[in-house]
């Protein structure tokens, strides 16, 4: 029984720690700061470097069907 209480106490303690940490992230806008200074610049660099197809090299076809229907 004592062991069970000990485990429960530990779980509660960890839960309280996680809750406090999450509240700190929320209150001090740490998610926003991490995304603004870390994630976004990293991803923007990645997208800037990405190899892309050149759509201008493709011919603009004008022989596609004209979809018209009698209704």
């Amino acid at each position: 029984m004592r062991k069970l209480f000990k485990i429960l106490f530990k779980v509660l303690l960890i839960g309280a720690g996680v809750y406090a940490a999450l509240f700190a992230v929320f209150f001090f806008d740490l998610d926003g700061k991490a995304l603004f200074y870390g994630v976004e610049p990293f991803l923007a660099k990645h997208y800037d470097k990405m190899a892309r197809r050149d759509p201008l090299s493709k011919a603009y076809k004008t022989d596609t069907p004209n979809y018209e229907y009698k209704v």
């Binding site: 999450l22 509240f23 929320f26 209150f27 001090f28 806008d29 998610d31 926003g32 700061k33 995304l35 603004f36 994630v39 976004e40 991803l43 923007a44 990645h46 997208y47 892309r52 197809r53 050149d54 759509p55 201008l56 493709k58 603009y60 076809k61 596609t64 069907p65 979809y67 018209e68 229907y69 209704v71």
Partner: protein, 542 residues
């Protein structure tokens, strides 16, 4: 190290400090502008709204929405599909990760029921957004080694200005996803950095800078090869105006798939055009039948339209409360974005879930006579097309000046239910609904419609107009002088808000705030409720 000021501690009114901690500071003492970090718009710390509302925000908005986003991603395609899309598309990775900051900007200073109801609107928009981009990624041949999988074969692409209801007859077997709603439109509200890449891209191939920046950005997505290959055919339209036709030409070039153009008449009051417009929709259905091999399903259409009509009926109830009471619990930005999103995209289960929750909140406000925006000095109607990069101006204007934006033009567009008694009546109503699209019904639908402002001002008991001035909209620029004359003749307080729709570089948010500040101090001779919000630098903010 900062010295502790003993005098300050001595002079502190502890009773008031305790009250401020428990209930939050009263409007006027909040100094919200001091929470911002310079330039970035990030918060030194998020706002303390009192114990109840701070923890509501923490549990029911911040934690809840992060959790729901994960759930939505799992539900609509899984983390692998999501990660692939995030790595491939700029508009995804750069825009949608900081979505909770979009909530923050829109909900600043909100308390009680206004905070709750407005946040639910944001939740719905996030869910539909995830639903759409995950639908794109699941079907996207770019993410699946060029393979056209089953999802690709069961997805219909269309321009964002084609109303989603056109595809209801196939919605039990096919998903319709607008091409630009998520890669362009919603991005501007959440993170306005992304869209600039697309505007610059299309100008880099020779487009002059002055056409509508919405169409520029929509075309730029294709120029930058940032559009998923997610459907075998596409439906386009000339909504909202002929700028859309021009962007379709570029999209058609790059997509190179069967395309059905479904133009709608601009001057739609002419009864002779209604039959024509209805036939365009019928032709579109023939095209879809031909492409999918699946016949038109009237029962599906009826079922979906009836669900959509339910949404419209609740919207009317909301307008009724907004127009005639001070108990309306939805702030200006939540009202505007939710309504335009819901009515343009069409039926989705989340709109119904959220409307149920909002109904509960609204009924509580009405029955208990809760004044949801108690610092309202002026009831404002916003007219014409809004700056997408500063859609939360109404939250700022309420906090700073007590300007309560009760309703806006885009909300009032699709002001109708659709008959489902017979197919003929139904198609005629669908034609009308489509003609009443955003930026079409009032902005380019003819003089009579753009001047619906006056009757709506009366209907919503507004005493001020926030007149959006989209500098690159040739249609609206053409009626600028007429509005000036009318405002003078009718003795209406109107603030012109210049902007370039998604492009914050033309008129910055700070310039917009300055224009409003100048009007409020010089013309209205009023003092700000929160002087810390008058002038701050958020030039690099999302």
């Amino acid at each position: 190290m900062k010295k502790i000021d003993l005098n300050k501690i001595k002079n502190t009114d502890w009773k008031k400090a305790a009250r401020d901690f428990w209930y939050g500071k009263p409007h006027g003492e909040r100094r919200l502008g001091e929470l911002y970090m310079p330039k970035t718009g990030l918060y030194k710390h998020r706002e303390w709204r009192g114990v109840k509302d701070t923890f509501y925000y923490f549990h029911n908005i911040w934690l809840y929405n992060y959790a729901q986003m994960v759930m939505d991603i799992m539900k609509f395609g899984g983390p692998v599909t999501f990660a692939k899309g995030l790595w491939r598309y700029r508009w995804m990775g750069q825009t949608y990760l900081p979505v909770l900051h979009w909530f923050d900007r829109g909900l600043e200073g909100m308390r009680g029921e206004a905070l709750r109801a407005s946040a639910w609107h944001y939740r719905a928009m996030v869910c539909v957004t995830i639903n759409q981009f995950m639908g794109m990624f699941k079907a996207d041949a770019n993410l699946h080694g060029g393979e056209h999988n089953d999802a690709w074969k069961h997805t219909i692409a269309h321009k964002e200005t084609v109303w989603g209801g056109i595809f209801y007859p196939w919605q039990d077997q096919f998903t319709n996803i607008p091409m630009e709603m998520i890669p362009y439109f919603v991005t501007c509200h959440v993170n306005n950095h992304t869209v600039l890449n697309y505007i610059d891209a299309v100008q880099s191939i020779g487009l002059p800078g002055d056409p509508c920046p919405m169409c520029q950005a929509e075309a730029g997505l294709f120029v930058l090869d940032d559009m998923p290959d997610y459907a075998p055919f596409v439906v386009t339209t000339n909504e909202a105006c002929d700028g859309s036709v021009a962007s379709t030409a570029i999209q058609d070039w790059y997509l190179d798939i069967p395309l059905f153009a479904m133009p709608q008449p601009m001057q739609f009051d002419d009864p002779l055009v209604q039959e024509h417009c209805a036939n365009e929709i019928r032709e579109c259905w023939k095209f879809i039948e031909e492409q999918t091999g699946v016949p038109f399903d009237w029962e599906q259409l009826k079922k979906r339209l009836e669900r959509q009509n339910e949404l419209q009926r609740f919207e009317w109830e909301k307008w009724d409360v907004a127009a005639n009471t001070s108990y309306y619990p939805i702030n200006g930005v939540a009202q505007a974005l939710y309504r335009i999103y819901q009515s343009q995209y069409g039926d989705h289960y989340i709109w119904h879930d959220v409307d149920k929750r909002v109904r509960k909140i609204m009924e509580k406000c009405v029955s208990q006579r809760i004044d949801t925006f108690p610092k309202t000095r002026h009831r404002v109607i916003a007219w014409s097309c809004a700056p997408l990069y500063f859609s939360n101006w109404c939250t700022w204007a309420y906090n700073c000046w007590g300007l309560n934006c009760v309703i806006n033009m885009d909300s009032l567009m699709f002001d109708m239910t659709i008959r489902t008694d017979s197919l003929d009546d139904c198609v005629m109503d669908m034609a009308k609904y489509h003609e009443w699209a955003p930026m079409r019904r009032m902005a380019v639908g003819g003089m009579h419609h753009i001047f619906e402002l006056w009757e709506n001002m009366e209907r919503f008991h507004c005493d001020m107009v926030m007149m959006y001035d989209q500098l690159q909209c040739k249609g609206m620029q053409g009626v600028h002088g007429l509005f000036e004359d009318e405002f003078r003749a009718r003795n209406i307080h109107a603030i012109w808000m210049p902007h370039a729709l998604p492009d914050k570089r033309t008129v910055s948010r700070s310039e917009i705030r300055t224009i409003i500040n100048d009007y409020m101090t010089t013309v209205m001779q009023e003092e700000p409720l929160d002087p810390s919000l008058l002038d701050f630098d958020d030039s690099e903010s999302w």
